[in-house]
Symmetry: C2
Subunit: 337 residues, 2 copies
């Protein structure tokens, strides 16, 4: 009987009640964080050891092997892209993590090779993880879920159990498209990247919504997806010109840069003969002669928020499952009508 | 007597000799890396435990607490800069590290706050470190040296004991300047960044050397250093125009971008009225109407080399103290004479 009693899983409440201290005190003793007297700490830890208390791993309070590392799961193309998304997100994450004395540790994955992530999980190298991109049928997310390590995604997920932080790409693209439609543009083309990335699906979703809201049909022959090189972007631009669209939206600044170059080569005047708008608003388009209309996101803030949600999860605190951050639509010369 | 005997520091050779195995076998047993029979491994480890053998920390073979992490010491401005130096270097470092199952861990420092680095050192979070920038009177380097953690700098150091990897900035800038002088330019201006960064000193050194080699004096009133904003760059450009220079060298693509913008605003034609050259060759200048002459470095390779030197150091193997990587001078439209 006694043995069974001892093996029953003690909760933090049981420990607090038994010792006549608050739950916070128990939590502080266990986590080693926050102010607590040395004697109380010892008392709590001794009691826990004697009574076989295992803090709830799912609540993110492992007693042993706390690494003080947060993992960042990166796709290699985030490092080769000249879009400054990754460094800015890292700045937000890194500075937020450092405030609580956590370091950020990198794991590179690509669509065929998740071995780096497996190694980090199996070797208990992190206390929590941030997935830097969400995918359709997201294998890294599934692996993390199975591992029990608290994690947060940057990018939305259809899985309501996953903690996710993102800019509101649907709404941002809906807003941009509505304004362009209100201005009178009727044939708007979209040149977008990998459909396997949830972010690209969300942007298209917003584009469709704006058309639906205003009862204006979109032209499916003007939607180009999975465009991942300058050559493909040029090919898309050629067909868009042939089909007499009046506006192009590049779903990121690199794609928009390619479109811009192609339009310049073809001597198509912006905005007189073709309107052009972009997602993100990096230095890449700053050198364009005329200002390029663009949706602007605060990527550092995105990193900070994702890290804050993760830290809350790691402490077993409440956090919003879905955090959607805002955006700004900067209307400039390139979409004058 | 016996106690003294036991406390004498055993070397790897002693262990190998005593057990009749090779030094490699001892090393493999200690590091847990490489092929070795389970029985032999146990025999070596038991002997070591009984005889109080402490592997030489300086040789980078700690028995305990191997973290399989490599630290990357970053300055915050590397994350805010839109120059893609940091992501490219990380790609080279990360991929090289992953091959040996190491992860890369970030530590942010700035000129006033090295607490992140202190924490990483004190908490033994890494087996080795890469300093991403060298400074005059380099405090992070001094801290790492004192800690005994193997480390490598990206960027040169005057301290011959420090393992350092860099592109040859002196020679690259000497080469570029020589070609410009050979083409007939006589009044070449330089707009350069923080003199506290060794890299900026090295670039100027190359500029001076080229003049010296060819017996052509340079004009000290055309050298602008510590230029760290668009406003300062514009101010420098104004004075350079007033002083009738025939060429400007921007010591990085951001600075060159500012100079380019200013020249366009002032309707100064390139190359007819002013020649322009740059360091690095990022996407930032790709959208310039005419090609901009630039020195090109392979930053991924720089990351890979630094990581390889570090891994060698961590294994206690020989490595070159100074590794200088090459460069390419891409002569383009902007310096036609």
């Amino acid at each position: 009987m006694m043995r069974v009693q001892e093996e029953k899983k003690l909760t933090m409440e049981d420990v607090a009640k038994e010792l006549g201290v608050s739950k916070t005190t128990v939590s502080r003793a266990v986590s080693g964080k926050g102010r607590i007297g040395e004697e109380t700490r010892k008392r709590v830890l001794e009691y826990i050891e004697q009574h076989n208390y295992k803090p709830n791993q799912a609540a993110g309070e492992p007693v042993h092997n706390r690494t003080y590392n947060i993992g960042m799961v990166l796709q290699t193309d985030m490092l080769t892209s000249e879009l400054p998304f990754f460094p800015k997100a890292l700045k937000g994450i890194g500075e937020t993590a450092e405030k609580e004395e956590y370091n950020v540790i990198m794991t590179l994955v690509d669509s065929n090779d998740f071995s780096g992530l497996v190694r980090v999980i199996e070797n208990h190298k992190v206390d929590g993880m941030i997935l830097m991109r969400t995918l359709q049928d997201d294998q890294p997310a599934a692996m993390l879920k199975k591992s029990g390590i608290p994690f947060v995604t940057i990018g939305l997920s259809d899985d309501p159990q996953i903690y996710q932080v993102d800019n509101d790409h649907v709404d941002a693209c809906r807003e941009l498209t509505s304004i362009l439609l209100l201005k009178g543009m009727k044939k708007i083309a979209v040149v977008s990247g990998d459909r396997n990335h949830v972010i690209n699906r969300k942007r298209l979703e917003g584009f469709y919504q704006a058309h639906q809201d205003m009862g204006i049909p979109y032209d499916a022959s003007l939607i180009f997806t999975d465009i991942d090189s300058e050559a493909f972007a040029c090919g898309a631009a050629e067909r868009i010109l042939q089909r007499s669209a009046d506006c192009m939206i590049g779903a990121d600044d690199l794609l928009t840069g390619y479109l811009l170059k192609k339009l310049e080569e073809e001597n198509v005047r912006i905005p007189e003969e073709m309107r052009l708008a972009s997602f993100h608003d990096s230095q890449l388009l700053k050198s364009a002669k005329n200002g390029i209309t663009a949706i602007k996101f605060n990527i550092e803030e995105l990193g900070r928020e994702a890290c804050k949600v993760l830290l809350r999860r790691m402490r077993g605190e409440e956090a919003a499952h879905i955090t959607k951050l805002s955006y700004e639509v900067a209307m400039r010369e390139s979409t004058k009508w």
